[in-house]
Amino acid sequence: MTSRTRSLPSLSARNRSGMEMAVLYVLSLGGAVLISGALVALTGNSWLRVFGALMDGAFLAPGRWGETLVVAAPMLLVALGMVIGVKAGFFNIGQEGQLLMGAMAMAWVGTRLSGPGPVLLIGGLALAVVAGGGWAGVAAVMRFRRGVPEVISTLLLVFVALQVSGFAVTTDWLLRDLDQNRPSRAVASAALPDNIHLPVIRIFGNEFNIGIILALLLAGLVAFGLVRTVWGFRLRMLGHNPNVAQKVGVASTRTGAAALCLSGGLAGLAGAVMLAGGSSGFRVTSGFAQNFGWQGLLVALLARSRPLAAIPMAILFAALRTGSGFLAATGVDRKIVDVVQALLVLALLIPPAIQFIRQRRRALAQAGEE
C-alpha cells in the first residue's frame, strides 16, 4: 500500500525472469521425457525407435497427417468447451460423458430419421450440441440449485453416460443396429448412412474430414468471443469475481449455467464429429469415447485455457495418439502415450506455478506491509 515507493520491475529483470521461465520449462519437460524414456527402457526398447515410430505414425507415413488432423478435431472441440467453462469459473471435467451423449444424438438422427443427407447431418450436429449441453446442464442444475460442486457431478455423470450408451446400443428402440444379419449388431448402433458422413477433403495423398475446419473456425470464434465481445467480457468477469459480476448484472446462475451447457455442448459436438467422421466405423459402441474427452481436457490444461494455444496442443496430442498406432512394431504398448500425455501436462504445470509464487512474493513486497 505504499504507493510512493512502488516501482515496476526493470526491463532487465523482466528478461531475466523470461530466461528463468525458459530454463524451468526445459527442465520440467526434460523430466517428463526422461521418465517416459525410463518406462520405454523398462520394456527393453530404445527411445529413439519409439520416437521414430511415433513420428511415422503421426506425420511421416503416407496418409498419416491427415489422420492426425481427423483426431485433432474432436480433441480441440472438447478443449474449447473446457476453456469456456474455466473462463467462467467452472471446472466441467465430464466431457467424456458429454461427448458420448453427443455421439448418441448424432447416431439417433442419422439412423432413425429420414431426410436429405445435409439436413440430417446438420440436424445431427445440432442435436449433439443439445445433448452434450443437456448432460452438462444436469451438473449446472445441481450446482446452481443445490450447490453441488460441478467437479464431482460432472465426473459422476461420465460413469452414468457410459452405462447409458451401453444401454442405448443394446436396446432396439434406442440405437441398436436392427440389421439381424450383422454378427456384432448386439452391441453397436447401425452405421451412419453414407450421405450423413462429414465431407472429406483429399490433399497431397492425405484425407481428412471437415471436422478440423469446423474446430479451427470455432477456436477462432471462441478466442474472438472471449476477448472482444460483451459475452466474453461477462464470462471472464464471472470467472474472476462472481460478486462483481452479480453486482453489475451477470448472474452466475444464468451465465454460469449457460457456460457449463455450452462447454458440454462443444463436447457433444466433438462426439458427433467423431461419429460422422468415421470413428468406430460410423457406429456408436459402448467404448466409443476412447478417452477423447479426458485427452481434450488435458489439451485445454496444456494450453492454459487459451483457445488459440489449444490448436497446436490438440495437434500434438492427436499426433501422440495416431503415432501410437505405429508402436506395435516396436513392441511398446501404445498405452505409453497416455502416460506421456499426463506427464507432459504435469510438467507444464510446474513452471507457471513457480512463476506465480514469485510474482506473488513480489506483489506482496509492492503492497508493502499487511
Binding site: T2, V230, W231, N241, V248, G368
Partner: protein, 527 residues
C-alpha cells in the same frame, strides 16, 4: 509513569537496525526500538509506514534482512510466532487469528505446541479470564461471539503463553469506545502488576496519546521521532507522522486528531430542500444460512445531496446492508426503494441498474477484478455504452479509461495493466472512479478509506463530499467515528442489524454516539 530516562534499567527488548526489504521496496529501514518493562510504548504511523512490518519481524511472521534483536541482554532470533511465544513475546491481533468454527478453548490451543490437553487448556482459559476479568465461556463457538468478545479471546490467546512483551496491532479498530477503555484497563493492570512491556501499534493519535508512556513515530519505513507522551502535543505528532500539515478535516479524522467535532464547519447547510428521499430501506430483514440474524428490521432514508453516515462497530449489519445494496443478498422481508420505485433485492444487477453504486469494504470481494485490466475494470458496469451488436469497442473503452485515469489521478503504467499490479490506494481509486462514472443516484461507501494513507483518505473523503454536492445521495458506512463525524450531514447508528439512533450534524455529540454504538439507548427513543 513517564520515563525517567537515565535511571531506567536496560530495555527488555532492544531492536537494532531492523531492516526488511520486499523486492525493491524497503518496508523497514534500520529501525531501532527499545521496549521497557512496565511501559506502554506507542508506535505511531500511517498505513504503510512500516510499523506492521517491524512488529511482524518481532513476532516471527517476517524474517529481517538485517538487524538484531536483544532480549534481556541476549541476542536472539525469532523464526515463527510459536518461537516468539517461547521467548515471551505475544501479539494480540485484531481478530484475524480466530477460527469461527472452533470453540474458544480450541482457538486458544491453536497457538500452542507440545502435548494436547483439552482439560488443561480449558482450565488455563478460565484462570486467565478470572485473573484479568475477561469473561468468556471457554466452550462457546467463536462464531457466536461479538467483536468485543472475540478480541478478549485474542488477548487470552496471547496471555496464555504468559508473555512479558505484548504487541497490540490496531486493537481498537473493532471495539466500541467502552470496550476500548476496558481493554486499556486490562493492559494497564498487567503493566503495573506484572511488568509487561506493551507495544501499541496504531495510526490514531488520540488513542496513542491517551494510553501510552512513550511514542515512537514512523514514516516511510524509518523512525522520525521518539518522544515521551507527557511532552508530546498532537499537532506536531501529526505533522511528523504524515510528513506535512494535515489541514483537511477528513485527514485529521483519519489520524484521530479531531477530538472535538464541533470545530466542524457548519456554514454549509446540506438540506435536501423538500426533495423526496432517493434511497429508502424499509424494515429490511436478513437471516444468514446458519440462522443468525444479520438485518433485523433496518430502515433508513437517504436524500439527494446529503451524506448519511452509518456508525457502528463491525458486525452490526453494515456488511449485509452494503451487500444487499450491491444485489448480492436477498432480503427475507422489507424493501429497497430508489426514487420511490421498489428494487428487487438479490437479483443480479438490479440495484446497479436502479442507480445504486457500491464501494465495498473489501474491494477484492465485490469491488474489482484484479486479473482484468484497469480499463476493463473501469467500464465493467456499463458495457452497453462501449459495445455495438455485442462486440466491444476497444478504442472507446481505452479512451474512456484514459479520461478516468486522469480525472481520478490513478497512477498506473497504462490502462491495459492488470488491476492487481496497482497499489491498494490506486485500486481503490479505480473502484471509486467506476462507481462515480456511472452517474449513480445513490453512492454507498463501506469503509472506503480503510488501509489507505492520509493522502488517499483525504482524496476519497473529498470525492464523497463532492458527490453529495452534485446531488447524489451518499450513504457512508464506517466503523471510524472520526470519519463519520467529519463527512456526514446526518448520522445513524447501526446496532445488531437495525438503526438505534440518529443525530444531525447540528446536534452531534460524540459521547452519546459512543454510547449508542455500544447498544446503549438509555434515554433514547429508538429511531
Amino acid at each position: 509513569m513517564t520515563g525517567d530516562h537515565q535511571e531506567r534499567p536496560p530495555a527488555l527488548l532492544q531492536l537494532r537496525r531492523m531492516t526488511k526489504r520486499y523486492g525493491e521496496v524497503v518496508a523497514c529501514d534500520g529501525v531501532d526500538l527499545d521496549l521497557h518493562a512496565g511501559e506502554i510504548h506507542g508506535i505511531l504511523g500511517e498505513n504503510g509506514a512500516g510499523k506492521s512490518t517491524l512488529m511482524k519481524m518481532v513476532i516471527g511472521l517476517a524474517l529481517p534482512d538485517h538487524g538484531s534483536m536483544i532480549l534481556d541482554g541476549e541476542s536472539c532470533k525469532i523464526y515463527d510466532p510459536l518461537d516468539a511465544a517461547r521467548h515471551g513475546i505475544g501479539m494480540v491481533h485484531q481478530h484475524y487469528s480466530l477460527v469461527d468454527a472452533l470453540t474458544v478453548w480450541e482457538n486458544v490451543a491453536l497457538g500452542e505446541k507440545g502435548a494436547f490437553d483439552p482439560g488443561a487448556t480449558r482450565a488455563k482459559v478460565v484462570e486467565i479470564t478470572e485473573r484479568y476479568g475477561l469473561e468468556v465461556d471457554p466452550d462457546a463457538p467463536v462464531r457466536d461471539l461479538s467483536a468485543g468478545i472475540r478480541q478478549r479471546v485474542e488477548i487470552i490467546k496471547c496471555l496464555r503463553h504468559e508473555p512479558r512483551i505484548i504487541i497490540l496491532d490496531e486493537p481498537t479498530a473493532v471495539l466500541t469506545p467502552a470496550e476500548s477503555e476496558r481493554l486499556f484497563e486490562v493492559l494497564l493492570e498487567g503493566v503495573r502488576r506484572e511488568g509487561w512491556a506493551v507495544a501499541l501499534v496504531s495510526h490514531k493519535l488520540d488513542e496513542v496519546l491517551a494510553a501510552t508512556d512513550r511514542i515512537t513515530i514512523m514514516r516511510d519505513g524509518k523512525v522520525v521521532d521518539r518522544v515521551a507522551t507527557a511532552d508530546a502535543d498532537a499537532p506536531s505528532l501529526a505533522r511528523e507522522m504524515v510528513g506535512r500539515d494535515v489541514t483537511l478535516r477528513v485527514g485529521a479524522a483519519a489520524i484521530g486528531t479531531l477530538a472535538d467535532t464541533r470545530i466542524i464547519d457548519e456554514t454549509e447547510e446540506h438540506g435536501h430542500g423538500g426533495l423526496p428521499p432517493v434511497l429508502q430501506v424499509t424494515d429490511a430483514r436478513v437471516k444468514a444460512g446458519d440462522g443468525r440474524v444479520m438485518l433485523d428490521g433496518l430502515s433508513l432514508d437517504v436524500y439527494p445531496g446529503e451524506v448519511v453516515g452509518v456508525a457502528g462497530v463491525e458486525g452490526n449489519g453494515q456488511t449485509t446492508l452494503a451487500r444487499t445494496l450491491a444485489s448480492l443478498i436477498r432480503l427475507n422481508s422489507g424493501k429497497v426503494l430508489v426514487e420511490g420505485a421498489e428494487v428487487h433485492s438479490g437479483k443480479a444487477g438490479a440495484m446497479h441498474r436502479a442507480g445504486i453504486s457500491v464501494i465495498p469494504a473489501d474491494r477484492h470481494h465485490s469491488g474489482c477484478v484484479p486479473e482484468m485490466s484497469v480499463a476493463e475494470n473501469l467500464v465493467l458496469g456499463s458495457l452497453e455504452e462501449y459495445s455495438r451488436h455485442g462486440v466491444l469497442d476497444a478504442d472507446a473503452i481505452r479512451l474512456r479509461a484514459r479520461d478516468l485515469i486522469e480525472e481520478f489521478d490513478i497512477h498506473c503504467p497504462g490502462c491495459d495493466t492488470p488491476l492487481g499490479e496497482l497499489s491498494g490506494g490506486n485500486q481503490q481509486r479505480v473502484v471509486l472512479a467506476r462507481s462515480l462514472s456511472v452517474r449513480p443516484k445513490v453512492l454507498v461507501a463501506h469503509q472506503p478509506t480503510r488501509g489507505l494513507d492520509v493522502g488517499a483518505i483525504e482524496y476519497i473523503g473529498n470525492r464523497l463530499r463532492a458527490a453529495a454536492d452534485e446531488g447524489i445521495g451518499v450513504l457512508l458506512l464506517s466503523t471510524d467515528l472520526g470519519e463519520i463525524a467529519a463527512l456526514s450531514d446526518r448520522i445513524l447508528v447501526a446496532y445488531r442489524g437495525r438503526i438505534i439512533g440518529e443525530m444531525t450534524r447540528a446536534d452531534m455529540d460524540m459521547e452519546r454516539l459512543g454510547l449508542l454504538i455500544g447498544g446503549s439507548t438509555a434515554g433514547e427513543d429508538a429511531a
